[in-house]
């Protein structure tokens, strides 16, 4: 049967959404009638559409053209991005942003760019961050996290 599947991505997606729909349908069954009517309707429609997708995956494939993945840069970027958010309130907006921003510049620069150019990017990026920080904090009066060490800044 697996060999008969022409569009594996659609097949897997369809299965996933059928399972998700059943989980959400069960969740909705614990609600009051007014609270449940729309979730019931949407999960039912989702099940029907997912089944259509699964059936279609046996008949033909609709190719999805994707950007090729960089298996080094993307995981590194995701980790640094997450760390940026995680440390934002702990270390403070400025320090976290300066470190994370420059790390991401390094990740994306790779080995093809000269050290001088990377340094220039880091300096300009840091100036941009500082300008935006002070703009938000002092001009727009939007409080940004100061972290544990700079509470009175």
């Amino acid at each position: 049967m697996l060999r008969q599947i022409k569009d594996k991505i659609s097949f897997v997606s369809g299965i996933f959404f059928v399972i998700l729909s059943f989980i959400l349908f069960y969740e909705a069954s614990t609600l009051s009638p007014f609270g449940a009517v729309f979730p019931f309707a949407m999960t039912t429609i989702l099940i029907i559409l997912s089944i259509i997708l699964i059936i279609r995956s046996f008949r033909f494939e609709i190719k999805v053209i994707n950007q090729t993945i960089s298996y080094v840069k993307i995981p590194l970027l995701i980790i640094v991005f997450f760390m940026w958010i995680y440390f934002l309130e702990r270390t403070g907006f400025i320090i976290t942003s300066l470190i994370s921003f420059n790390l991401i510049v390094l990740i994306n620069s790779g080995l093809n760019i000269s050290l001088k150019r990377i340094t220039l990017y880091m300096i300009l990026g840091s100036i941009f961050i500082l300008l935006l920080y002070f703009g938000f904090k002092n001009l727009l009066l939007v409080p940004l996290p100061e972290g544990l060490w700079f509470r009175d800044l």
Partner: protein, 502 residues
């Protein structure tokens, strides 16, 4: 008449002109930054207006709103991320135009279209506000439900990519909108004991994540430049864009009228307006197959409609005290603080302030054209020169600051990140972000309309008639069916015709 002329002169004072200019400038910049929406732009700058005269304060707010809605198209065109929810449809053709080396043309067309849309909206506000406001009262829960469904079916059939996957995306968006407290009944749904989710998913955070993160991750993997520069000129191809917009002038006015009409429906907003306008433009166009691949007509339809909602949205806000769009809600608050009473007497007893405001809005729209073209020229040239290595962290930085600033809550940033990763995976499986975002935006409108219509129909002992027998509902249902089945029927008809010819 003399009073109206005096109000017009009052709006032309040096202070008011300066305020309109500053408002448009600030609005464009804030609207262009992904993560900072028009609502945020207006909300952040409202306190600055309290020190001004009421009419001057309103002129600034209207100018910021106008600029922000237009500014949202810049990030939609340049990095495939709508700066505001109303610019979702701009990504369909704006970004492909930029990828094809026509980003400068797209920026100019967007500016001119926004100008036309803004003008039509303001003219309707000035001349037809009270009668148009009464039309909005004819829209009840049933009509709102069908309007939301129309928006969703249009996005699913018009957005680039697979129709079935787009419909699934819309369903996912609708299910996401149900997280939190139910609009009718008060049930707490799908929160899994996370108390932060009781208030639901913050739409702007989810939108930033779903649009921006996939772009960032794809840019990281991409070799070469993000966008190519066109081989021409330095002048943003003004003549070429003017000729394109002039050639499609009737289509532009149609889009503006759709935007104005949908703008007068409280809660409908620019996102539905731009989608419906885009759908109508595609349906009526001779270049249907080009839509989604960089067709200027699609861009014109989207941008005229979303800027027309600025004027249209003020109609119920001023006449009925019901905000047409979220920024109108903020401006309504500012109106009340200034002691202005909305309602049908506003145009008679406080006409001086109102007409000065309307003329100020008119001036802001006019100022937006040269300012938008000038800024657009430098912004476009600057952004394509920014190396990818710096552009990526800049976009990440803006997504973090944008999602944090909404409620000063780090959880919004986590959710933005989470939805971004989910959006990237779905994107790679062929599920696009725009149906999901629109499902999220329209979900509460659809559900509230559906359930309230059911309650009313039940009380009248005729549920089906309440859904299907009301005049406006019938028209909307016809449009929905046409949107769903007409493309498929046309395909079958063409296939049969070709088979017979062969």
């Amino acid at each position: 008449m003399t009073n109206i002329f005096a109000d017009f002169l009052s709006s032309l004072s040096l202070i008011n002109l300066g305020l309109a200019f500053s408002g448009v400038l600030a609005g464009i910049i804030i609207g262009a930054l992904p993560g900072l929406s028009a609502t945020m732009a207006v909300a952040i700058l409202v306190p600055f207006t309290f020190a001004l005269e009421p009419s001057s304060g309103l002129i600034v707010l209207g100018a910021i709103y106008t600029g922000a809605i237009f500014g949202g198209s810049w990030s939609a065109i340049l990095i495939n991320t709508p700066g505001t929810p109303s610019a979702v449809a701009t990504t369909f053709d704006g970004y492909p135009m930029a990828k094809n080396g026509n980003g400068d043309l797209a920026m100019s067309i967007s500016c001119m279209s926004s100008f036309i849309g803004g003008l039509v909206g303001v003219i309707c506000l000035a001349l037809f506000a009270p009668p148009l406001a009464s039309v909005s009262l004819k829209f009840g829960p049933t009509e709102y439900f069908w309007l939301a469904i129309l928006g969703l079916t249009l996005i699913s059939t018009l957005a680039e990519g697979d129709n079935i996957k787009s419909l699934i995306g819309a369903c996912i968006g609708l299910l996401m909108s149900m997280i939190g407290v139910a609009v009718v009944g008060g049930d707490i749904r799908m929160t899994w004991n996370i108390s932060f989710l009781n208030s639901g998913i913050e739409i702007v955070s989810a939108m930033i994540g779903l649009f921006c993160i996939p772009v960032i991750l794809d840019l990281t993997s991409m070799k070469g430049k993000h966008l190519s520069d066109s081989e021409t000129p330095k002048n943003l191809r003004l003549k070429e864009s003017f000729l394109i917009v002039f050639k499609k002038k009737f289509e532009a006015v149609r889009g503006a009228l759709i935007g104005t009409f949908i703008g007068i429906l409280p809660g409908a907003g620019g996102s539905i307006a731009s989608i419906v306008s885009y759908g109508e433009a595609k349906r009526a166009s001779k270049n249907k197959d080009n839509f989604g691949k960089g067709e200027p007509e699609g861009l014109i339809a989207s941008e005229t409609a979303n800027n027309a909602t600025v004027g249209g949205g003020f109609i119920p806000t001023l006449c009925l005290g019901i905000p047409g769009t979220p920024p109108d809600a903020v401006i309504l608050g500012a109106l009340l603080v200034q002691g202005i009473r909305t309602g049908d007497t506003l145009f008679t007893q406080q006409s001086s302030i109102v007409y000065t405001f309307i003329f100020g809005l008119f001036l802001a729209t006019i100022i937006m054209l040269p300012l938008g073209l000038l800024m657009g020229r430098y912004a476009y040239k600057s952004i394509i020169k920014i190396p990818k290595e710096v552009l990526i962290p800049i976009i990440i930085f803006l997504t973090i600051i944008g999602s944090y600033s909404i409620q000063n809550n780090i959880l919004n940033v986590y959710f933005m990140f989470f939805f971004g990763l989910v959006g990237w995976i779905l994107n790679r499986a062929g599920f696009k972000a725009s149906p999901i975002v629109l499902g999220l935006v329209l979900g509460q409108i659809a559900e509230q309309g559906f359930v309230q219509a059911y309650i009313i129909g039940n009380a009248q002992d005729n549920i089906l008639a309440n859904y299907f027998a009301r005049p406006i509902s019938i028209i909307l249902v016809i449009f929905i069916l046409m949107g769903l089945f007409l493309p498929a029927l046309k395909k079958i008809y063409n296939r049969r015709k070709n088979a017979q010819t062969n």
